[in-house]
């Protein structure tokens, strides 16, 4: 499915410095039982966000009104474990459009790119700067500029470049997905399949 175009995003951010956040934390398996891609945001970080009775846990960042925004700044090795794309659907459905970390798990990163959530890999130093800046001022704004491949702390102007391959960058900017590309080369795939 084609998705939202992504060019420049300016937003406050939600910090989650915990390391090794796996996709079972992002969305536990018992919430994967839908047959449509809707409503997953309600269960984003379910067991960190709510207690067993369903009451919000006050100390979890998504329940802290101090923090909000379309950018999630996460700890090292974010999105490890299960390949469930539902994890990214939950992140998207909640309202995030960009996840920043010093290290992403592979499948999670692919899944992000496939539905139009931009994964931005920064250096551990820059990640620390982001966490410190958000802690000092939760209203501080971050700019993620995809055309220029730059992430910037608007208050100080400090910035860092990030990598993304040209093909995926183009897709994100135009809201195209891989299926559009693959369907256009159907006869080439047929010829390849026939040769096997």
């Amino acid at each position: 499915m084609a998705y939202d175009k992504f060019t420049v995003l300016r937003s406050t951010a939600v910090p989650l410095p915990t390391e090794n956040v796996d996709t079972d934390q992002i969305i536990p398996a018992r919430f994967l039982k839908a047959t449509e891609r809707e409503g997953f945001g309600d269960n984003l970080f379910r067991d960190w966000r709510y207690d067993v009775e369903g009451n919000p846990k006050k100390d979890f960042v998504l329940n802290d009104p101090t923090y909000s925004g379309k950018i999630l700044v996460a700890g090292k090795n974010f999105g490890s474990g299960s390949s469930r794309e539902h994890a990214v659907w939950a992140i998207y459905d909640y309202g995030f459009r960009c996840v920043v970390s010093s290290f992403f798990a592979d499948i999670f990163k692919n899944n992000c790119l496939n539905i139009g959530v931009l994964p931005v890999t920064v250096s551990p130093e820059f990640a620390e700067k982001l966490f410190a800046a958000i802690e000092a001022d939760p209203k501080t704004e971050i700019e993620v500029n995809l055309p220029e491949q730059k992430i910037k702390l608007l208050a100080t102007g400090e910035s860092e470049s990030f990598d993304i391959n040209e093909y995926k960058k183009d897709n994100m900017q135009n809201g195209f997905d891989d299926i559009d590309y693959l369907l256009n080369m159907s006869s080439e795939i047929d010829a390849f399949a026939a040769s096997r």
Binding site: M1, P17, T18, E19, N20, D22, D24, Q25, P28, A29, R30, L32, K33, A34, T35, E36, R37, D47, V52, G75, K76, N77, S80, G81, S82, S83, R84, E85, H86, V88, F103, F104, A105, D106, I107, N110, N111, N114, I115, N165, E166, Y167, K168, D177, D178, I179, Y181, L182, L183, M185, S186, E188, I189, F192, A193, R196
Partner: protein, 468 residues
């Protein structure tokens, strides 16, 4: 001629097109689907008004959310039932082979693929499940994908992938008594961390790996994802061919000879270069167990939980948060701790060899009173063999509860959940917070260690129970 790795040989022969400054268009030979990660993919095909390009290249089975009792009855949980019914509907509509509940080859997708001989050397295999890496044990490139990619494979038999880097992990020498392939992989992950192979595809090599059975190799490849690797593979050899011969979908007659001749070419050339090489000594590996909330947090059963010495910042905070969840203190031993549940099963250790190992161990013994012991075969075929070989009788006499095939307590998606705060020693693959149920505390170990724990009721080194 250029020296290439096994991984390169298979990858390069499946590239339909390389996108300039982009990924490869990568052809998929076999696609497995299950009830949880496929419905949205099918729904999107409908929205686009397109069908399944090559239905015969996809095979389906419901495994994640299915109950492991009363499988002949309607699934009670409404949402689970809907997902399974959706899978049936989609398979029927598009002509996809389905191994449904109650049929001869129903089971966990990564157990039935090899069992049917669908999984073969040199293939590219994907599934919307990260443990697809299991199939790499046959010398195939196999990895987990997201639902968007499931849709791509259904629609075009291809996905867009950037080629990962290559790592070779060699384990040389003889494994000690009581040490299994599960201990090998838990040991490797504990050494390189849960993210130590992110960005890589791993080839496992060395004499200790070559000496393993196919079942044991599958356990190792299965957990490649637990160190972040996209997948792991092992060069096919006589052990592989012997396993496949006569399987339903394995080539027959002349085709078999041709296939074996090709499969024999599937190995890394002497002198081929990897981006990273690691070598471990099999003699250093002992029964392992995890104490934290990611598979990299593993120690030898006899060892103490690491202290926080040398840790700082979010690293230390995350570590302490993990131990707090588990109810453990830094520096304390795990051995002797009381356990509530044991679980033998999953795509990691739910094969016949695993059940045999547990049965042999507990034969004539009884599980401890404080233990609830679940044993869940990975497939109907495994279940059938376990009955035929008299293993079920042994296990039931020891106080184990045998359930029907499925993912079961590995992921708390069906009725088999570990209650909050309880300790489960499990042969599965993930010890994440809540993985086996909200608040459940999972410790991963080999089937032998799990059997020892079942008998003693406490964290136990299986080698210490052998002599009793």
């Amino acid at each position: 001629m250029e020296k290439t790795t096994l991984f390169d040989k298979i990858w390069d022969s499946h590239v339909v097109r390389s996108v300039p400054a982009g990924p490869d268009v990568f052809f998929i030979d076999k696609h497995f689907i299950h009830e949880v990660t496929s419905p949205v993919a099918f729904l999107n095909l409908e929205k686009r008004g397109i069908g399944v390009k090559y239905p015969h290249r996809t095979i389906a089975t419901p495994d994640h959310n299915v109950p492991t009792v009363d499988q002949d009855q309607t699934i009670k949980d409404k949402l689970s039932r809907m997902q399974v019914e959706k899978l049936r509907e989609n398979c029927k509509k598009y002509g996809i082979e389905l191994h449904d509940l109650g049929t001869a080859h129903h089971g966990i997708v990564h157990v039935i693929g090899p069992e049917l001989g669908v999984t073969q050397p040199g293939m590219t295999i994907v599934c919307g499940d990260s443990h697809t890496s299991t199939h790499g044990a046959f010398g195939a490139i196999a990895f987990g994908i997201g639902t968007s990619e499931v849709e791509m494979v259904l629609a075009t038999q291809c996905i867009m992938q950037s080629k990962p880097k290559k790592m070779r992990i060699s384990v040389e020498g003889q494994l000690g008594k009581g040490v299994t392939s599960k201990d090998i992989i838990l040991y490797i992950i504990s050494k390189i961390s849960a993210a130590g192979a992110t960005g890589y595809f791993v080839e496992y090599a060395g004499s200790a790996i070559r000496n393993l059975s196919m079942e044991a190799r599958m356990t190792i490849c299965n957990m490649s994802i637990e160190m972040g690797a996209r997948g792991g593979l092992i060069a096919p050899d006589e052990t592989t061919f012997a396993f496949l011969k006569g399987k339903q979908y394995a080539p027959k007659g002349e085709d078999w000879d041709k296939a074996v001749a090709y499969w024999k070419t599937l190995k890394t050339d002497e002198g081929a270069v990897f981006d990273k090489e690691l070598v471990f000594d099999a003699a250093d590996i002992e029964p392992m167990i995890t104490y934290g909330t990611n598979p990299g947090m593993g120690i030898k059963v006899k060892d103490r939980i690491p202290t926080t010495e040398g840790m700082e910042g979010s690293n230390k905070t995350s570590y302490l948060k993990s131990l707090e969840y588990m109810g453990f203190q830094p520096g304390e031993p795990v051995k002797g701790k009381l356990v509530d549940y044991v679980f033998v099963g999953s795509c990691t250790n739910g094969r016949i060899e695993d059940i045999r190992a547990v049965a042999n161990f507990v034969k004539g013994k009884k599980k401890a009173d404080n233990i609830t012991a679940w044993i869940v075969p990975g497939s109907r075929e495994v279940e059938k063999l376990a009955h035929e070989e008299g293993l079920v009788k042994i296990l039931e006499e020891a106080g184990f509860e045998l359930r029907q095939p499925g993912c079961s307590a590995c992921l708390a998606m069906n009725d088999d959940k570990i209650p909050s705060g309880k300790y489960a020693v499990s042969t599965s693959n993930r010890n994440f917070e809540g993985r086996q149920g909200p608040g459940a505390r999972t410790m991963l170990a080999s089937p032998l260690t799990v059997a020892a724990v079942a008998v003693t009721g406490r964290i136990t080194d299986p080698r210490e129970v052998f002599n009793n």
